[in-house]
Amino acid sequence: MTIKRRDFLGTVAAGSAIVTMPGFLSGCGVQAATSFGRNAPVNPFMEWFGVDQATVARVMSELTSRGADAADVYFQHSRSNSLTLEDGIVSSANSGIRQGVGLRVVIGEQTGYAFTEDLTLPSMLAAARTAAAIATGTQVVAPQSFNPLAAGDLYTTTVPWADVGVEQKLPVMKFVEAQAKGKDPSIEKVAVYWADGDERVMIATLDGRLVTDNRPMTRLTVVVTAKKGDETQTGYANIAAREEFSWYTEERLHKMVDEAVERTLIQFEAIRPPAGEMPVILAAGASGILLHEAIGHGMEADFNRKGTSIYTDMMGKKVAESFVTVVDQANIPGERGALNYDDEGNVAGRTVMVENGILTSYLHDEISAKQYGIKPTGSGRRQSYKYSPMPRMTCTFMEDGPHTRDEIIAAVDHGIICETYTNGQVQIGAGDFTFYVKNGWLVEKGKITAPIKDVNIIGNGPEALRQITMVANDARLDTGGWTCGKNGQSVPVSQGIPTVLVSNMTVGGENVG
C-alpha cells in the first residue's frame, strides 16, 4: 500500500510538470512522441517491438557515434510452424520464435555488426556501441525520427498464419497422403511435411526511412516411397509461396501429388545416361536453376566489387545470343522469392542482368551501389537479424525466346532433357557450376526416349551462356521451395526459364568404356 501511494504521488507531480512545461519536454528529445503520438496512428510494428520513434533514434545515434556512411537498425520477429505426417499420423509438430534487432554501421567497404535478442534500450545501446567500434571518426547527424514508407502489397494476407490452427492443416495433409497412396499399389509409404510462418520486419535507416514488411511463407512437401520386387525408389514434390491457407486448393494439391508419384515410379525404369559432353535441353520451370548457378551468383555485386567473380570485367559486353534476356525480379506477387522491400529498406524491383545478350546490371546492395556510383537494385538480403545483408537473388528467370519446345527437341540428335533438380552450386571465380538432375530423359534423333535419373551436370557459366543456342516461348516460374545459401546465410528464392538448349555440357554418367 505504501508503495502504491508513493507511485500515485509521483504521478501527480510528473503530470503537473508536463502540463506546465511542454516546451522543456519537447526540447528533451520527446518531440517524436508528440508529433507521432498525436498526429499519426501508433505504428503497429513499433508497438509490437515495444519501441517508439525516440527509442529508435536514440539507438541510431549511438550506432553512428563514431561516424557512418550508412547505418540501419533491423527489427525482426518471426514465427514458424511445421508438422510431420509419417506412417498415417500427424504425430509431430515444431514451432520456433526468433526475435531480435540487428545493428549495422557501414563506412566505405567496412561493416560493424552486432545484434541483441533483448529489446530493452540498455541492451540495444550496448549492441549499438559494439557495432560502432569499427569506426574511428566522430558522431554523424542521426535522424530524430523516421519517415514511414508505404507498405508493399505483393503478399498481403487476410488471415495470418498465426491464426491458422493445427486442426485446419491436418485435413490437408491427410488429403495429400490419401491421394498419393491411392495412385499405385507399389506405393508403400507416404510422408507429408507442412511448414508455415509469419515474419515482421521493421528497418530504420540513417537517412531517415522507416520500412515495415509482413512476410508470410508456406511450403508443403510430399515424399513417396515405392517398392517393386527388391527395388525401392523414393521421390518427392513440393510447392511453396508467400501465400495464406486458402492457397492450398485441391487442384494445386492434386498436381503436387501427381508430380511426386510420377517422379518416383519413373525411377524404376530410369537409367544413367552415357558420361561425357553432350547437348542438354532444360525443360521449362525448375531448370531456372541453370540461371541461378551459371550467372546469378556471379552477378552479385559483392563478388564483382572485390574482383573475385568471373563476370567482373564483362559489363556491357555480349555474353549470349540476342534472344537471351535474364532477369531477377522481386515484385512478383505471392512468389517464394518475392519481396516488397529488401533488408536494407530499398524497394525490391526488377533488375535485368542480361538484356538481348548484353550484360547490363549486377545485383547491388548499398555498399556495392555506392562503390559503382549507382542506385541500389534492392538486392540486399539477410537471413535474419543475426546477419549483415549482402546482394542476393529473389525470383530469377529467363524471358521467352523465338523457338518452340518441339523445335528444340527435334534439333537434338543425341543428348538429354532435364526436368527436375535437387540442388546446384557454383564457384564464383572459375565460373564452374553444377546442378543435380533427379529426373530427365534421353533425347535421340529428335525424340524423347528412355528416362534417366541421378546425374550431376557441370559447366562453366560464361561458356554455358554463349552455348544457349535455342530458347522457347514457354517460360514459367517453378513453384518449388528453393532456398539459396551464401556465406552461411539462407534465403528463399524462386527460379524459372523457358525450354532452352545448351549445345554442350558435361553430364555425369556410368558405362564408361
Binding site: E109, Y113, F115, Q233, G276, K306
Partner: protein
C-alpha cells in the same frame, strides 16, 4: 553461468508441467561469437554476437511436439509454453513418442573432454588484428593475387538440459578458427581460388597463422590453369580434406529414421560385410578436443563409442529413441559425433605411387546422392595422377556411381588424417570409378 542455464531449464520444465504436459525436456543455451574479416590490407567486417534460446519438447496425452524461442521474457514464455501444449493436444497420439527413458541417461561418462579454453574469452582486438595482418600479408604475397579475405572466428557456447524424468546436464565449449580464401588471376576472365582454415577449441593447439596463410595461397595456386579432364574409368584418390564429405554422404542414410521410412540403402546391411575390408568408421563422442565431442546427445542418451563399420562389416546404425522403437532397433544415438575413419601406414606419396594413374580429387562441386538407392553423381576438382605423381589440375568433371558399390572398391586408405573436421578421415583410394569430362 551453467547454474543459471540449468535453473532456467528447470523453470521451463515446471512451467510446461503446470500447463498440462506429462513429460517435458527443456534446453537453454547461449553463445558468443566474434568474427573479424580482413580484406586486402584493411579490416572489412567486425561482428560481435551474443545469442540465447530456450527449446522444449513436450509430451501430452500420448502426443509430442518441440518448440524453440529466443524471447525469454518470463511473461511471454508462459504464453509460449501454453501455446506449445495447445498445439500438442491438436495432434494425433503416437505410442512411439516417449521421453528418453532413464536407463539411457543414467550411466553418463564422467570425463573431461577438454573443450574449453578460457583464453578465448580474453581474446582482444589487437590479437585478432595481428592474426589478420599476418595471414593477409602472406596470402596476398603473389603477383597473381586479385583479392584475399582473411577470417578470424572465435567464440563460446554453453547449454543445459533438464527433463521431467530426472535428466540434468550441461555443456560448454570454445572455438577459434583462422585462415583465408585467395583469388588469383587465371586464363581470360577466369579466377582461380582456394583457401585454408584451421580451428580448435584451444588457441594453443592452432598451427601458426603464417603456416595457415601459406596453405591458403598454395591451395589457390594449385588451381591455376586447370582444364577439363577426360571421360574415363580409372582410379580415384580422394584427398583427406575432401574425404570427410564423401564419408558424410555414405553415412547420410545410415540411421533408423531413413531405414524405418524405407529411404535407406543401409536397410538390410546390419551385420553384413557390405563394404571393402579397408573401411572402418567409429563414432567417438569422447574424443578429447573433438569438434563434435559430448557427454550426452540431443536426446540425453549417454555418450559412448559406437563402431558403425568395422573392416567392411556394418556393426551399428545411428538409432534415436523414436525411430528405434518404430523400427524395433535398440537406440544407439540419433546423431553422429566425431567420425573416425580407419587409417593405414601409407603416405600420400606411396599411395599415388601405387596408383600410378588416375584422378586425385581435392574438392567437390555440388552433386547429390539418392539415399534410397545410393546412386550418386558429384562435381569434382583435382589433378590427374601421372606416373605416380600429382599432375595437371583438372576441373569441370563429374564422378558418378553408387555409394555402396564405390565403398566396396575402397582399395587403400592413407595415414594422413585431415584434423580440422569432425569427420577424421585419411586419403581414400577407389578402383574403377566413372569420370565424365571431355
Amino acid at each position: 553461468m551453467s547454474a543459471d542455464l540449468l535453473r532456467r531449464a528447470q523453470q521451463a520444465v515446471e512451467l510446461a508441467k503446470r500447463a498440462g504436459a506429462q513429460e517435458v525436456r527443456a534446453t537453454t543455451s547461449n553463445s558468443r561469437d566474434v568474427s573479424f574479416e580482413y580484406r586486402d590490407g584493411a579490416l572489412e567486417t567486425v561482428k560481435d554476437a551474443t545469442s540465447q534460446s530456450l527449446a522444449i519438447q513436450v509430451y501430452v496425452n500420448g502426443r509430442y511436439s518441440s518448440h524453440r524461442t529466443t524471447d525469454l521474457n518470463i511473461e511471454r514464455l508462459k504464453d509460449f509454453v501454453s501455446e506449445a501444449i495447445a498445439i500438442t493436444k491438436a495432434l494425433e497420439p503416437d505410442e512411439f513418442r516417449q521421453i528418453t527413458p532413464e536407463e539411457l541417461f543414467l550411466d553418463r561418462p564422467d570425463v573431461d573432454l577438454d573443450l574449453v579454453d578460457s583464453a578465448v574469452a580474453d581474446l582482444d582486438r589487437e590479437q585478432r588484428m595481428e592474426w589478420c595482418q599476418t595471414i593477409d600479408g602472406i596470402a596476398t604475397d603473389h603477383a597473381r593475387v586479385i583479392s584475399a579475405t582473411t577470417g578470424v572466428y572465435d567464440g563460446s557456447s554453453q547449454s543445459a538440459s533438464v527433463s521431467s524424468n530426472g535428466f540434468s546436464g550441461s555443456s560448454r565449449s570454445t572455438y577459434c578458427w583462422y585462415g583465408a580464401n585467395v583469388t588469383l588471376k587465371d586464363q581470360g576472365d577466369k579466377r582461380a581460388s582456394g583457401g585454408f582454415y584451421a580451428g580448435s577449441p584451444h588457441i594453443g593447439a592452432l598451427p601458426p597463422a603464417s603456416e595457415v596463410a601459406g596453405m591458403a595461397l598454395e591451395r589457390a595456386l594449385s588451381r591455376l590453369d586447370s582444364t577439363k579432364g577426360p571421360t574415363v574409368r580409372t582410379t580415384m584418390v580422394v584427398d583427406s580434406r575432401a574425404a570427410g564429405a564423401l564419408i558424410g554422404r555414405l553415412l547420410g542414410p545410415a540411421n533408423a529414421r531413413r531405414v524405418q521410412q524405407g529411404q535407406s540403402y543401409w536397410a538390410d546391411l546390419l551385420g553384413e560385410r557390405a563394404f571393402s575390408d579397408k573401411l572402418t568408421v567409429i563414432d567417438n563422442p569422447l574424443l578429447k578436443r573433438g569438434f563434435s565431442s559430448r557427454l550426452y546427445d540431443g536426446e540425453g542418451i549417454s555418450a559412448k563409442v559406437i563402431p558403425i563399420v568395422e573392416a567392411g562389416v556394418v556393426r551399428n546404425l545411428y538409432v534415436d529413441t523414436y525411430y528405434g522403437r518404430k523400427a524395433g532397433m535398440a537406440p544407439t544415438t540419433g546423431s553422429s559425433s566425431n567420425r573416425i575413419v580407419g587409417t593405414s601406414d601409407k603416405s600420400l606419396a606411396e599411395i599415388l605411387g601405387e596408383a600410378g594413374a588416375g584422378v586425385y580429387v581435392t574438392s567437390w562441386l555440388g552433386g547429390n546422392a539418392d539415399n534410397t538407392t545410393g546412386d550418386f553423381s558429384l562435381g569434382i576438382r583435382g589433378h590427374m595422377i601421372e606416373n605416380g605423381q600429382i599432375g595437371r589440375p583438372v576441373s569441370e568433371m563429374n564422378v558418378t556411381g553408387n555409394l555402396k558399390d564405390l565403398f566396396g572398391r575402397l582399395e587403400m586408405v592413407g595415414n594422413d588424417v585431415y584434423p580440422y573436421s569432425s569427420t577424421l578421415s585419411p586419403t581414400l583410394v577407389f578402383a574403377d570409378v566413372n569420370f565424365s569430362g571431355t
